[in-house]
Structure formats: structure tokens, C-alpha cells
């Protein structure tokens, strides 16, 4: 019965809205760079709009890896250009 209903999972899936995820990621990034405004837009580009440097960004990525228990390979780093992009990436990793 459980198989038929599709309720059998081999590992837990974290269910979180995109808003919640962006909220968490924004807090994480503000922990690294406190000068960032409390509600800076999720579509703002980390480098161009807020001048985050490579060290701040790799720290952000390291914290994402730890927080959500995912591994982010080097080749995916350039895609994480904003909170919005980072959230989409994390959601995708969590589902798969």
C-alpha cells in the first residue's frame, strides 16, 4: 500500500519554500558580510551589485554545503551569482 501511494522514501527530503530558502541563504551571506542590507533583493548579482570577492563567495558556498549537506563542485561555482540562483541550485540538489 505504501509503495502504491508513493510514500516510501529511501532518504528524507527537506521540504522548504523558495522564500524560506532565500531567507536562510541571505542570513548566511549577511553573516559573512554584515554590511549587506537586511532585505537586499534576491536577484542582485553578488559581485556586480555588492562587490563580494572570491573569498567571501567560497565561504558562502562552504556554508551552503555544510548547512544542506550537499557537495558543490568547482565547475558549478560560477552559476551561483545571486540568492535566487543559489536557492534554485540548492533546491535542485536537494531534490536529486
Amino acid at each position: 500500500m505504501w509503495h502504491t501511494l508513493g510514500l516510501w522514501h529511501t532518504h528524507p527530503i527537506i521540504i522548504m519554500s523558495n522564500e524560506q530558502l532565500i531567507y536562510q541563504l541571505r542570513n548566511e551571506l549577511r553573516g559573512i558580510k554584515p554590511v549587506l542590507p537586511e532585505n537586499f533583493p534576491a536577484t542582485d548579482n553578488f559581485r556586480h551589485d555588492w562587490d563580494l570577492d572570491s573569498l567571501e563567495l567560497v565561504e558562502f558556498v562552504a556554508r551552503i554545503e555544510q548547512q544542506y549537506n550537499i557537495l558543490i563542485p568547482d565547475e558549478d561555482l560560477p552559476t551561483l551569482i545571486s540568492l535566487h540562483a543559489a536557492a534554485a541550485y540548492v533546491q535542485n540538489k536537494l531534490i536529486h
Partner: protein
Amino acid sequence: MGVATPLGMSVSGLWSRLLEGQSAARAWEDLAAEGYRSNYACRIEGIEHAPFRRGRQLALLAAESAVKQSGLPVPKNTGIFFGSTLGESAAFEFAATGQSIDLQDHAVRSIARGIAHQYGVENAPTAIATACAAGNYAVGMACRALKKGRIALAIAGGAEPFSRLAMVGFSRSRAMSNQYCRPFDVNRSGMLLGEGAAIFMLERAEDALARGATPLAEVLSLGLTCDAYHPVAPRPDGSGIRRAIETALKTAGVLPEQIDWVNTHGSGTKLSDIAEAKALKQVFGENVPTCSGSKGALGHALGAASAIELALCVQGIQAQTLPPTPCHEQADPECNIPCLSSPRSATIQYVLNCAFAFGGLNSALLIRSWNV
């Protein structure tokens, strides 16, 4: 001089393996088990030491060889100039677990004091925590003290025990290669961590000659600058590095075209190698001398790196041989640094030993063969 490195515990052993292009880099089961992103490193096996005293043991092993080779007694007023990063990093790692340990007793100065104690030196030793450039700093400071006549003999160098703190830091900041360090190579992907020590006996030339000794090499000058740019990234235009090299040349009254060989910092990271390459081109124009880098062979030994590499410079002068750059296979056209794939005999007089540390600390030590 004396060394303790992953490719040998003697200068001759290290040199012959370097000339063969060997690399000490390999995978380590304990690092894999501890979950590091990369488990490749260059480490020394079979070193016994007291708990949290690996750095001191490496320094003492190198010092023992240096003192023995010099044939000199070590007077009580010898100057000791010693460089490292943290000192006994294992102690800091232990403290990070919440356990109690006296970190002051395990910092860089503790290793310098260990050398002083071993040889009955009563002068307060000088400890220099400038990490990747510390060896150059130590030798430069020793030379200054000798020139001023404050001391007649100096023991100078650097040591660094393998540091998990550094593994985490470099790994986390994505500066570390998954497998090999490839200086100035188009396929380079970062640094590898190493460990080791190198120690030198230094004295004024006239004193060495007066007792009938033949110096291994002569230290001419040390150029130091600070980028004042970023905690870890070098100035992209290489200007800080350029000024350090130019300072060394100008202080010694040596022209760029007189340089026969540059031992590069060559850490194998994308940014650092490019900045160094730009600086070398700015100093030497189209005629960059033959360059070498040993971090593909030995990893980055942090506080010991520039000291170990200085030992290689001195040995190269002795052997009149330019060494290859292990793990450099395909030159990056953006760097275009002339590295060798095999050893080459050459007339070597003037050699630059370049080393750059976090915090934008740039050092260029200029040495010369003695029989000039």
C-alpha cells in the same frame, strides 16, 4: 645547511630526486577518512616526536645537519632566526576541540626556543610568523644582525609540521588541487599542502674566510613589500611582487640581465601564478631567466617553503645545475614562464628566491655563488 622534506632528509637526497622530476604528492588514507575534499598531500613519514612537537623535531633534524656540515661550534651568543606559520599547528587543532593546552608554548617562538635550547644558545631567538615567506625573512634578518656586528654566527630557517588547519582553510577556499600541484601549467588547479624544514648556518664572509671555510653561497639582499590589497589574493597586476624583486636587485646593485635563475613561488593556483608571471615579465621584459618551482615535488610547506627552496637554490649553485619543475607539463601561455622538464647544466652566479605569503607579503632573496 640541512633539510627535512617529503623527498629526503638530506640536501643531496632531495636534490637528486628533484632532478629526476619526482613528486612526493600522493593520496593519504587518513585524510580521505577525515573527509577532506582532496586527500593528496606531501608528508614526511617515520618522524617520531613528542606530542604537539612535530615542528620542533623537523627543525632540529634540519639544524643538526646544518651544524654538522658547518663543522662549527655553536656559541652561546648565536643569533637564531626562525620562521613558520602557526608553529605547532596540531596544538591549535587540539585547542579547537575544546581541550586545554598552552598555545603560547606551541607558537612559532616555541620552535625557535627549542633550537636555542638544543645548542645552549642564550640569546633570545627571533620568531617570524610570516608563513610562506618566513624562511626568506629569517635569513634576511640573520644577515642584517651579522652585518651590524651584533652576532658572529646565525642559525636561520623555517619549519612547518603538516597542518590540518591549513588543509581545511585551503580546501574550503577552493585553493587546493585534487591531485597534483602544477606550477604555471595550463591545467593547474591549485596548491597541495606539504611540510618540512630547512636550516642554514650564516656568518660574515670575512669570518668564514679567516677560518679557511668555503661558503656555499653568499646572501646579497632581501627585497620585501606588502601588497596592502587583500587578505589572501595577490595584487592581480603583480606590482607588489615586482617591487620586491626590484628592491632586491637595486639593494645589491645587480641588473636584471645578470640573474641566471629564478626560483619561483609557483604555488600552482590560478591567480598567484599569473600575478607572479606578470611581475617577472615586468622586471625582466622578454628575457625572463630560467625559472623553477618545487611545489609540484614537495607541496607547499608554508613556513618552511622558502627556506627549503633556498636550500635548493644553494645546491643548484653548488652543482651549477638548473633543476626541472616537477608536474609542470604544459606551459600556460598566459603565464609563459620558462620552466625546464629536465635538469640543465649552466653557469649560475645570481639566483633569486621568491616567496609570497598571505597578507600580500612579498619577498625576494638574492644570492650569489661564492667563487665570483
